[in-house]
Amino acid sequence: MDLSYTPEEEDFRARLREWLAEVLPGLPPKPSPDDWPARRAYDLGWQRMLYDAGYAEVYWNASPTVRLIFLEETEQAGAPYVGANFVGLLHAGPTIASEGTPEQRARWLPPVLRGDEVWCQGFSEPDAGSDLAALRTRAWRDGDHYVVSGSKIWTSHAEVADWCELLVRTDPAAPKHRGITWLAMPMDAPGITVRPLRTLAGSAEFAEVFLDEVQVPVTNRVGAENDGWRVTMVTLSFERGTAFVGEVVACRRVLGELAREARKNGRWDDPVLRRRLGRLNAEFRALWRLTQWNVSEAEAGGGVPGIGGSVFKLRYSHARQELYDAAAAVLGAQSLDLDRLWVLDRLSSLSYTIAAGTSQIQRNIVAERILGLPKGR
């Protein structure tokens, strides 16, 4: 067991740190979290800076350890979060890199890395959430096109996306896991209507997407027809495996800020609160070690994150909610003021035990796929 980095990795870290110190002070202020067009522009601008400096590559072409260092350093320095680029960089990109044809990789990967194109994820449907394979959005062949009709829901930042990683049913007669296909759908195609939904935090973070005979070229299919479930599992392993690395670092930073705030406002003198923060320190230290462990495992296993991602996701989602509950305890009555720091974060942390597979579903996965317990109904 070794927690030290190689000289090359340390060198990468040092260069990155230097570059961040140079460019971050010149960045414009972050846009309002409600303003998705502005957020898109901001996030893509940052992605372009990463690209020009040669760092964009890190997402797909670097070793898991280098990617870990990259996410650790950018987060620690307070660099912009991937934001609107989340799906493109962390799910669709890696999926296409792993499952796409050379032409597909050439078409879709560079624009994501350059910050030219934004992706969204069209998996969930009104009647297919946890039971994702029950999805009903239909696609049938018409010459060299698929014609797609149906609807998707909870599609994060759909209104500013250029592409959608879309799951459709291509064989309604097949068992439900067998008749699914993974398509890249252009979001400007005729027949697409996006209706933003308001989240409990008051912002329009996600949307409903209605699809009325939308034409998608057959060449946009990733993987074979009706083999979309397997491709989806690749996507989900990235979603659960490595997508949260930066966030653990962010939580550790927030915890330190919380302690300093508590010192300022006197609540630090309360031993119960102090120890609660101490325990959270233990929690996020352990989660960081678990991240390092999983990354080392991925490195040994050829880069695709393993099932350990579900273990991490379960623990992390709850820890994040506890962190922001502790923030509310530090803030006291100010935690009711939406303009205070951490209050919106507390609200959005409520989604962590739901999005990307609820905690109940993750527990089923851990119990059945890691512990080998029988499937129930």
Binding site: R274, A282, K375
Partner: protein
């Protein structure tokens, strides 16, 4: 960074597991409960295998390995519920004659009650006035020292104890899963019921999170890392053993099942690292330090 067990570490862990399976299997465990007392032959066997001398330099007749290896060995000891003042004797190797070879049994007066006081050959610290307790753990005789100065266990003792707790957490999960796969009710294995399945999943998640913390603390030997490892390992062991009992139903509540022994030992070890609140305070201080 390669934060995974090396080949040698894997081999060491498997070796200790096999040794303990040979020398201290389920029958031996039951026999020890029926007739408590320290098994000197087993103790010397551990000594011969290098359990106590693991971290002693080779020039001093030790094995010359480090904290990560010791942690792996103690995890196995915890998994097997091996009784005896293992941590104190291990720490005394090199300073107390015979400790390294398992000839001398050493116990220490730390923060909690003193373990194995009357069976030990050497007692480190002042145990005068010690009064025996009716120990909750049938495999760990305990004494209370009324006027002892408040001594705290050192970080290495705390970490090795956390490693034992990790062993218990892992073992409790294994036992629960094994039972959940075989015990049938309502015409199917109880492990098919989500209420049971989710208990098991949480046991694994707690154990794996604790594992990452304990192993990392073994690599860094940093006191704050060790405090974190201790909190997570105590939680994983105590709640794991408790949930394991729940999964076993009525059988889990019997003296014959091994489950209660894990829970009781987890309670004993949780006292060894000082008050939980002390660890929490150390971690809190680290945030503003």
């Amino acid at each position: 960074m390669r934060f995974q067990l090396t080949e040698d570490q894997r081999a060491l862990r498997d070796g200790v597991r096999q040794l303990l399976a040979r020398r201290f299997d389920a029958d031996a465990l039951r026999a020890a409960v029926a007739e408590p007392g320290l098994d000197r032959a087993l103790w010397r066997g551990l000594g011969e295998a290098g359990f106590f001398a693991l971290r002693l330099p080779e020039s001093d007749g030790g094995v010359g390995l480090g904290l990560p290896e010791a942690v792996l060995a103690f995890e196995e000891a915890g998994r097997a519920l091996l009784p005896g003042p293992l941590v104190a004797t291990h720490l005394a190797a090199g300073t107390v004659a015979g400790a390294a070879t398992g000839e001398t049994v050493v116990t220490a007066v730390d923060s909690g009650p003193v373990e194995w006081l009357t069976e030990a050959d050497v007692v480190l610290g002042d145990a005068s006035g010690a009064v025996p307790l009716r120990s909750v753990d049938p495999l760990t005789p305990l004494h209370r020292v009324p006027d002892a100065l408040p001594a705290t266990a050192g970080p290495v003792a705390v970490l090795l104890t956390a490693a034992e707790q990790l062993g218990t957490a892992t073992r409790a999960c294994e036992l629960a899963v094994r039972h959940a796969r075989t015990r049938e009710q309502f015409g199917q294995p109880i492990g098919a019921f989500q209420a049971v399945k989710h208990l098991c999943a949480e046991m694994l998640v707690r154990a794996e999170t604790a594992r990452a913390a304990v192993y990392a603390a073994a690599v860094t030997a940093d006191p704050v890392d060790i405090a974190a490892a201790r909190l997570l390992a105590d939680e994983a062991a105590e709640r794991g053993a408790r949930d394991c009992l729940q999964v076993h139903g009525g059988m889990g509540f019997t003296w014959e099942s091994e489950v209660h022994l894990h829970l009781k030992r987890a309670w004993v070890r949780a006292q060894r690292g000082g008050e939980i609140t002390e660890s929490e305070e150390l971690l809190a201080a680290d945030l503003v330090g």
